[in-house]
């Protein structure tokens, strides 16, 4: 399968620290975040701007003032005007989508070097007017004479003024009319994941992230951002709590299903801002140019699943990638499964280890197997650091490649996330060429 295609390599990558909603990065728009990251990456890599053939950026809450945000970011970051740019959207996997799209472009020979990544400022999710309000405003604009203007103005005054919070609506599946948190509650019930298990997972996520920051693991991956009107330096992920405890987690009340739900703000991913950018090329080109290689992107897959159980996406996507590559879970040295919710990760693990699930889902007799805990999200996950929706996919691939290069002494890695709307995405990476 892989013989005739170009081998996709990641030349370099970098990300911003993740800032809490309304926090350290609140003054930076998605464009600002993306621009700073893309510029930093270009400066730090051995490539020049002229080497870039295309730019692809994943972004979910696409700002109206920067439609096709990829292009806006690219131009501001100094990418030459002749280089085209487009924005991709696959909800939580948008950042991953940008990278796999880049890989496909390169495999087809349509580009040699693509700048790809994800960017999100959830802080800047807009407030919307009710559609009734919009209608009444349109009538007012069309009104010509004074009586009809007065009448139209009265209509506007009576229309609903209360803003709609786009962030909340964006995190709700319109097909099944369920919030993402509610889908996690479904999984928690069906896979019998207790509140305690979820909190324990969350605590571990914080501890791992805090430890990794302490030991300097993230220093190379994460750039410094000087944010806001005071240009305060930001380097650490803002959401990480070294002092997180079971006691504190236990105190929190269920966020989505009161009073008996188990998913809380403490065991869900944090709403955050951030950007990650990677330079994608192929082996031949990188070797010819003498560029360093962070690692290879071997394969990827996106699978659909039940929107009410969108959290199951990673199981399906991982299964897809592993089976087409002829691999088993034990072949994978490191995994990153995005922690949208602790309940979702834990039920993913249960499903992966379940023969019953395998039988029901794919008609197979063997379970794909759950990874060991010391292979999964070893440097913490979105519960501790945050999940800027359009960006996370790119972050997972970046951190995974670094783990393979620096910690496991090579091998394969699998980055996966669940996608609102009932999908899963998985990307198989490695530190060496495919064998």
């Amino acid at each position: 399968m892989k013989e005739n295609k170009r081998e996709i390599v990641v030349v370099a990558g970098i990300r911003t620290p993740l800032g809490k909603m309304g926090g350290a990065l609140a003054d930076l728009s998605a464009v600002d975040l993306g621009m700073a990251t893309m510029r930093e990456l270009l400066v730090r890599s051995r490539l020049t701007r002229d080497d870039v053939d295309a730019v692809i950026v994943g972004n979910v809450i696409q700002p109206v003032e920067a439609t096709n945000i990829a292009r806006v970011i690219a131009l501001q970051a100094g990418v030459p005007r002749a280089v085209p740019a487009h924005t991709v959207h696959r909800n939580c996997a948008s950042g991953m989508q940008a990278i796999t799209d880049a890989a496909e472009k390169i495999q087809l020979g349509r580009a040699d070097v693509v700048l790809a990544g994800g960017v999100e400022s959830m802080t800047h999710a807009p407030l919307l007017f009710h559609d009734q309000f919009r209608k009444k405003m349109a009538i007012l604009q069309r009104a010509r004479d004074i009586p009809s203007r007065l009448k139209a103005a009265w209509g506007v005054a009576q229309a609903p003024w209360k803003p709609r919070i786009s962030l909340m609506e964006g995190l709700t599946d319109p097909v099944v009319n369920m919030g993402m948190g509610q889908t996690a509650e479904v999984l928690a019930r069906e896979f019998a994941i207790s509140r305690k298990e979820q909190d324990e997972w969350s605590l571990q996520s914080h501890q791992r992230a805090a430890e990794s920051w302490d030991s300097g693991w993230y220093d190379e991956e994460v750039m410094h951002v000087f944010a806001g009107s005071s240009f305060a330096p930001v380097h650490m992920d803002e959401g990480v709590r070294a002092e997180q405890s079971m006691k504190a987690l236990k105190r929190l009340r269920p966020a989505f299903e009161k009073p008996l739900g188990t998913v809380t703000a403490g065991n869900s991913s944090q709403i955050t801002d951030g950007a990650a950018m990677l330079l994608i090329s192929h082996r031949e080109k990188a070797e010819a140019e003498g560029w360093p290689m962070l690692g290879y992107i071997h394969d990827w897959a996106y699978s659909g699943c039940d929107p009410e159980r969108m959290g199951m996406g990673p199981v399906h996507a991982c299964h897809h990638v592993l089976s087409t590559s002829g691999l088993q879970m034990k072949d994978i040295a490191r995994l990153e499964i995005n922690e949208a919710f602790a309940a979702q990760v834990l039920s993913n693990l249960k499903a992966m280890g379940s023969k019953q699930f395998a039988k029901k889902a794919w008609g197979e007799d063997e379970a794909i197997g759950a990874p060991d805990s010391d292979k999964l999200n070893v440097h913490g996950g979105a519960i501790a650091m945050g999940h800027p929706v359009g960006m996370t996919g790119a972050r997972l691939i970046l951190t995974l490649l670094r783990q393979l290069k620096r910690e496991t002494g090579g091998g394969l890695g699998l980055a996966s996330l669940c996608i609102g709307g009932g999908q899963g995405g998985a990307t198989l990476v490695g530190s060496e060429p495919w064998q």
């Binding site: 621009m35 400066v43 730090r44 501001q76 410094h224 000087f226 005071s230 240009f231 305060a232 330096p233």
Partner: protein
Amino acid sequence: MAVKSVLQLKRKKDRAILSFSRSDKPVNVLDEECMLALEGYLDELEASPPDVLVLQSELAGSFIAGADIHAIAAVEGAEKGAQLAQRGQAVCLRIERLSSVSIAVVQGVCLGGGLELAMACDYIIAVAADKTRMGLPEIKIGIHPGFGGCVRLPQKVGWVVATQMILSGSTVDAKRAKRIGLADMLCHEEQLEQAIEQLITKGKKVISIKPKWFALWPARQIFFMLAERKLRARFKDLDMEQTYPALMGALNALRTISGLSSDAAYAWEAESIGRLAVTPTCKHLIRVFFLGEALKHQDAVKKGKASAAKLQHTSVYGAGVMGSGIAWVAAKDGTVDLHDVSAGALSHGLQSASKFAKRDRQRGGKRLQRIRPSLDSSGLSSSDVVIEAIVEEIEVKKSLWVDAEAQVSRQALLLSNTSSLSLSEQQSDLKYPGRLAGLHFFNPAPKMPLVEIIAGKKTTKKTLQTVAALAVRWGKFPVIVADRPGFLVNRCLMPFMTAALGLLEKGQSAQHIDGILKNFGMPMGAIELADRVGLDICLHVGEHLSGALTGNEQFAMPNWFAKMVSDGLLGEKSGSGFYIYNKGKCQGANEALDAYLSSDASSVGHGNAVQEKEFDANMKEDAFVMGGQEVIDVCLIPMLLESLRCLEEGVLDSAEYLDAALVYGIGFPPFRGGLLCYFASRERSELRQSIADLGFDLPVNLEVLDAFA
């Protein structure tokens, strides 16, 4: 040689086109030749007026740059000045009174007399182009508009905006010109014909008073009263009638004109020009203007222009006050990496750059965005220019250069913003030392127009030329000076400062000294300057210079000064020095100062002063306050002597450039024409006496001053 052309008149059916087409200069100027040609064509036009008259320029980027400044500089006698204005007024009036619909097509610079001519037309079309700028900047050379601009600008844009424009000499771009009513139409080059057609249908223009309330006498008076108060507040330390007579002159002209019929108004305007054109201020400002032009067009700049144009990316090391200021300057038309090892310093640096960004609403944000903060040496490999503004220690600088050279391309320039360290020494460990030079900015870098460019022993000529041209590209005036301790400006500044400190010892108050110096026209008193620069830095520079320039005691700082530094009184940055500061604002004298001054036991006179103070505070004030001229002599004569010594030592060749350097570098009052110019105007024998009285030897090259007479 091609036939020289100045102005052409073309007729096409019922339309006449007057084209300004200067062939011997880069811009159109209303000089003698041009005026003669214009007057000739006007005779022709008056004899058979066309339906439409279009004024335009054949030169790209220039409509008319203004009247001939040389002619204004040469004016002797108020009569002559008034005549010069009357001639211009007459030409404008003749255009205005033609029966034709007249239209000026303004593309490129349209300043002073050029704009006045355009305003005499019924309509102005502003062509939207980057180079289109319109304004009446006469105030900058010490006069006000004289070709009827004081009458016509208010008619166009209203009195409020006109007063602001004339008093500040500010210019507007095409878009703003349309918005304020200066231009009647804004169009693109391709739409010109349509624009002209549209305006023709409107016929001759009818004039009305703008704004309407200006027709009321009391309203006018209140307006001008407020304008005058604002102006006086801005120059509160100066005697405005003496120093900048044109400001008050222009305000008075506008005030008077606003109540006159236009004929009387023109007469008044011309008369006022006559008075102002002969003032020393006018002559001096013109001199300084020409000196600036000379610096910008010096030989080195011309030769380096091509190579400087290629420089795109600058790396600035050190995010302190200077470094961030330099980064802001370099971000004018290129990308900048601002390096520092401390995130806190970078944060501060970006903050101070953002203050400059806020002043330019249109472009500031984008310009700030071009500065990338960096905590390591990333980006160096793609740098065309590396500028260091780090700590003044030779070893630190040398090791920075070695590190930088290992990463930058072979052609990249290495520039040191040192104020005292030898460039030759900084070159010593480099593989390609020819590319290293000094580029010394003054604080605050974005505001101070001067840069000193210094060659080390091995600096190539090409490097020097490129740096000079780069400085001009960044909007600076470069002077090339020799690699001597303190270079030029700081070396001349230090004796000035120490002399002022000497006055403190003699019991003069800091406010008194600074007040006199500010009244003289210095932007800041010598004592406050020490505070702003930082006492530690003053001490360091003083020690360095007195060590390096042996036999020169003028650089040595007094002992009590060193004690202030060791006690942490560092000036503005520590919150107190000679004055107390709060968030950069001076809050009055520092009471603790007396303790330091009196601790110096040698100062007997001062001991008396303290005693007397106890008896009668008022008497002390009278008895010990030194006269204005005396303070000025005590402070400025050491500066004069040092600058003459610089000339003698060949720190720089041109005495004229020295004057320019001090005006643009430390803000020596431009209305005095420069330091040497100021002393040249003093009676020579009396000056000799003053020098001797202060206990200095007569400089050997005092005759340098003769050239300025």
